[in-house]
Amino acid sequence: MANTPDYSWPPMDARKIMGKPYKRLDGPQKAAGRAKYTSDLKMKDMLFAAYLTCPHAHARITSIDTGAAEKMNGVQAVLVIAEAGKELQWHGQEVAAVAATTEEVAREAILKIKVAYEVLPHFVNEADLAKAASRGKAAGEKVTGDPEKAIQDAEAVSDGVYGIPVITHCCLEPHGCVIQWQGDQVMAWPSTQFVTGWAGTLAPNLKVPAANIKVKMDYIGGGFGSKFSPGAWAEVGARLSQKAGGKPVKIFLDRASEQQIPGNRPSAFGKIKIAGKKDGTITAWQSDTWASGGFAGGGQPPLPYVYTNIPNTRLNHVSVSVNAGPSQAWRAPNNQQASYLTCSAIEDFAAKVGVDPMVVFDKNAGYTPRAEQYQYQLKKAAELSEWSKLWKPRGSQTGAVRRGLGIGVNAWGGAGHACEARTTINPDGSVLLEMGTQDLGTGTRTIMTQVAAETLGLQMGQIKLAIGDNSLPPGGASGGSTTVGGASSATRKSGINALAKLFEAAAPALSAQPEDLEAVDGTVRVKSDTKKSMSWVAACKKIGPGGKISETGANEQRNPMGLNSGGAAGVQVADVSVDTETGLVKINRYVAVQDCGLIINPRLAESQIYGAIIMGISTALFEERIMDNLTGRMMNSDMEFYKLAGIKDIGDIVVHLDIREVNDKRGVIGLGEPPAIGICAAVGNAVANAIGVRVPNMPMSPMHVLNTLEGRNA
């Protein structure tokens, strides 16, 4: 093969399997409770682990005595994680762990571990920057243009204070794994977003070669960015297993720990000034922000968001360290914060100058990297939300229940990650597609099977797929919306490479050259004379008994060959009703216009967007980590008081996938993150529009709404 084969996607109208709304292949197993998640695994002699965690927000361990726990019947291993002298920086931090024959024994044993703490001063609430004192670390000021002059010369200036709290991933399957360490071999069944990379991260901690760590995962019960690394629990589980003579150990966080320690979305607060003209043109931006993602502090969100080219800007940021659990990537890291701060400030500027925010977002689209795209989407979102009919100027409504509309925007990359796939064609015609990737519930199994079937001219049922194993060709981490682009491109390339070999084997029988053949509808045939054809099985027989074709293909991030690309944009509109007597915010309708590339499965793509919005509505209405200033503890490390939206709380959701040929030509673009970004922004703006005053802090809970209405914010 001297020339690079043509890997390009078939034209939109020629696709037979791709672009069709196949039901997810693992759906029946999951929906009937037969799918085995890691937390469902049960194996011979398996031990159950439990953690002892720190009850204080900041403390030093002065002594720890595990004697009584070790003597308990059924206890097989006790591991001290934090020795005497160790300083602990948050409530819930791990102190010790026990592995026992039953979970009941393990849980009872940790209660028998005696720990004495020297309690130290703590700081857990970053909302009021004035109280942060030495816990805040300023980042350098960033200035573009001449913001001072632009603000001085402006016809109008708006000021606002906004805050978006720490929220937790609240994965339904907690963080953890089943792990077995025998000699220099480790076998692990994690709940992870990165099967291929898991061993390499754990290996140095155990001082075991990564090659000796075998990793398998069939199903994962949610990750959302918090399950890339093995986590401390993998090492703890492995050490317990080793101590217990190599028995497998199941170590999963309980719900309280799950809410406290394995990651969260950092907060962001900001005082923002926007200046501009009376017609809504923005000329200057000034923001003083602060944020916390736990003890390590919190970075600056990318501001101003989407409207990145505002000519005169001044940005200051303070990272605040608090004594609370650390952050992890959260479905479009720092973009929700940035979108909330930016869109809120733009809406407030629009209200200040008395111009419809739809007009202001549109008028300033020149500051975005893709003006035409955002303008197209604003128009579409206005149409679907009946903006011109339903939107009323801020503060013009009376009555107890008031309706409002608000806008949120998003931008994301979503190009494919580095990923490899292997397609094997056997002489009996059977096909195996192997890749070390994972299906987070996004539909990776289904989508990759579609790509393989399309490429080989076969039906879905003729492709056998193997994923979720680190002995398979390397996959990437499922984060950043990069899986669909990377894995589909790798699948396509390995399929085309395998076909080239098959065509070499079959060409003589069709009296043709290999490059003149194509695989369509279960046949291998001559492109220019499609009557000259043979069945797929007959073609595969030409491979010869005992032989097989096995070809890999890889997506290269630097050269995706047009198969995938990045850069997704979206505009969303929330339509809410606010009861000014109770403070309850109800979603009437939520409209999402989402730019996408080539859509492999519209059913699953829509599910991604619905899911992103529903999760976003949950964060906009209910979710926040509540820290108690006095004790330093997280008050709602459960699911009763850490509230998630239920089936009745989400209103009606209208998704408009922007499937057009011009977008299709961009190749595959990931969709997991972009639609999850702008929901707090849209809902917050809708509430402000409805009640005539800005509720500064998310979520739009009755407490926050009523506090604002009654002037209790200060």
């Binding site: 009941e104 959302f224 209910f622």
Partner: protein
Amino acid sequence: MSSTKDPKPKNAVSRRGFLGGMGIGTGAVGAGLLEREAMAAPAAASVVGPGPVPITLNINGKPVNLTVEPSVTLVDALRNHLDYTGAKRVCDRGTCGACTVILAGKSVYSCSVLAIDAQGRNIETIEGLPVNNPISTAFVNHDAQQCGYCTPGFVMATKGFLSEHPSPTMDDVKNGLGGNLCRCGTYMGVRQAVLEAAKNMKGAKNG
């Protein structure tokens, strides 16, 4: 939670209501159940435990013997002591519904029932349903699952709900399935799936 004007939030599942009635949704927490359960409780139970005791659970029509501490919940008995893992342990205190099973015909959160108390009543778990049962199939048809961890609980809650509301409206569905939570955000599909399951199950009965 979101209704601003509904005088009696029908989907509200209070912890107290749950613990008393061990039911979810609108049907199970109806008037009278609490009292019936209370009357059915033995007047003076014999003291057992705290160590493991032998118990017998009737799971999907079959008696299963096991030995557990009296403090073991039904979900832990099913998952850890046996191998019925369709019911998931998520919140572990009667909030999310991922552990829903049907006990004596009523949906319950199995994290909030002691295994020892579930003796003598039939326990239906999702493993008792065929893979292609009409409810699970409807969930697949409407892509009412992503990671799928909450799904078996939703399917069992739907079964319990439809047994009391065979012809639900969309509003009934929104109220009746309010006791189950999903993190991936599959509620749009769930709404349609429950309506389709209702339709197909009625069709099957009539046919």
